[in-house]
């Protein structure tokens, strides 16, 4: 019961019903960020399917997803993984947390990064 409720909350945010994922792993195979992730993208989806949302929320993967849409473009089941990743980030951010403190960004990043990187990053991380 609890797990289906967790899943429904994420569905409201992401618009993505993860039940259609059949765990083929194609998303993870083509993910540019996979080497740095603690859970692979298809493993995050599996946790959400099982309603084990706490584990997914604790994963570094949700912050390393770059919203590049390579996975969703290739998923044979049409799963919008990037939306699911965002729904997990947003679940934490809407509680008032933030993943990145702009004040702590290194001076060279603040000085040299394009405005678009800063605005996009702060939108995804705060």
């Amino acid at each position: 019961m609890v797990s289906s409720e967790n899943r429904r909350k994420l569905l409201d945010i992401s618009g993505e019903d993860v039940t259609s994922c059949y765990q083929c792993g194609k998303c993870s195979a083509g993910c540019a960020m996979a080497a740095m992730m603690d859970l692979l993208p298809h493993q995050v989806i599996r946790l959400v399917q099982l309603g084990q949302v706490e584990e997914a929320l604790a994963s570094r993967t949700i912050w390393l997803c770059a919203s590049c849409l390579a996975c969703s473009a290739r998923c044979p089941r049409g799963v919008s993984l990037p939306n699911v990743m965002e729904s997990l980030r947003v679940t934490l951010l809407r509680l008032g947390g933030r993943h990145l403190d702009p004040v702590r960004l290194p001076a060279d990043v603040l000085e040299n990064a394009p405005e678009q990187a800063l605005v996009a990053g702060l939108r995804k991380y705060t």
Binding site: M33, W63, A66, C68, S87, P114, Q116, V119, A120
Partner: protein, 293 residues
């Protein structure tokens, strides 16, 4: 050829050379870009939350004001293109969210505008054959690797920009300028995007793969239309990765365009590169020796 034009924030700050090279090129090619009177930041990234339409407010406002100026809005930055075109898709197809956003911005905008990238203008309206005929300084044999990244291509059903797995618009553009196109397997892979803001060198791995995939195949320059890709690929070559002349400069497609059209160097605006494009462009005679880049 007349269009309304959305520059976006980055082209007015860190990527000035992207805009100055584009506007100067457009002028000599007879493409008239009329800047929107009241534009604001597009938001830099398309929101992937369907229960929150607030991030659509700013791009929707821009779209509604562009619609009053005509039917086609041109952008240069890949991120602006992606956000504006995806927002336009929502305004066109999702009545529920459209009503919400329209109520907030006090407009009745229905997505009846076409958002086009400057590359599409060159391809579809000017034509790459006509472009080739306008070239004054052919970049004969310059080994150039196209880099698309994500934002021009995905999601393909909404953007319909090019083949999402095997795009060729940048290749065709580079060929028109006389370049030798270097194909490489990472041209549509992600550079790491905003994850670059994560502490440490963590996020530069994907960018290094992209640079290495182009360099290993002989590319002497990487060509992009995204300020964030430009930054990530360039910065990933800091230190050992770019030393000993092994670095590959990363530049905007419009900068190569301006060079090929024989425009003065002051429109190029090469600034703050880790790997400076100056030596390369001088070595092929595409830039004068006194240039500072």
């Amino acid at each position: 050829m007349g269009y309304s034009y959305f520059p976006g924030c980055t082209l007015r700050a860190k990527a000035r050379g992207f805009e100055s090279s584009a506007l100067a090129s457009a002028r000599v090619l007879g493409i008239h870009l009329e800047e929107l009177a009241n534009w604001q930041c597009c938001g830099a990234t398309f929101p992937l939350q369907v229960d929150n339409s607030f991030p659509l407010v700013s791009p929707a406002r821009t779209l509604a004001s562009a619609r009053r100026m005509g039917e086609r809005l041109v952008t240069l930055c890949s991120a602006c293109y992606n956000v504006l075109k995806r927002t336009n898709h929502v305004m066109r197809t999702d009545a529920d969210r459209r009503d919400k956003v329209n109520a907030f911005i006090e407009e009745d905008y229905r997505g009846d505008l076409e958002v086009v990238h400057f590359l599409e203008v060159l391809r579809d309206d000017l034509g790459f054959d006509a472009l080739a005929r306008s070239v004054k300084v052919p970049l004969s044999g310059l080994a150039a690797a196209p880099y698309y990244g994500c934002l021009l291509l995905r999601p393909a059903d909404e953007l319909a920009f090019d083949d999402p797995e095997a795009p060729h618009i940048l290749e065709d553009f580079l060929s028109a300028l006389g370049c030798r196109v270097v194909d490489h397997p990472y041209k549509i892979e992600c550079c790491g995007s905003y994850v670059a803001l994560e502490p440490g060198e963590l996020a530069s791995g994907p960018s290094r793969m992209v640079v290495e995939s182009a360099r290993a195949r002989g590319a002497r320059v990487i060509v992009t239309s995204c300020p964030l890709c430009q930054y990530n690929l360039d910065v990933s070559q800091q230190g050992a990765h770019g030393r000993n002349g092994a670095g590959v400069p990363v530049i905007y497609f419009t900068q190569l365009l301006a060079i090929a059209l024989g425009l003065p160097e002051d429109v190029l605006g090469f600034e703050g590169h880790v790997i400076s494009p100056g030596p390369l462009l001088r070595s092929i005679g595409a830039m004068g020796s006194e240039a500072t880049a």
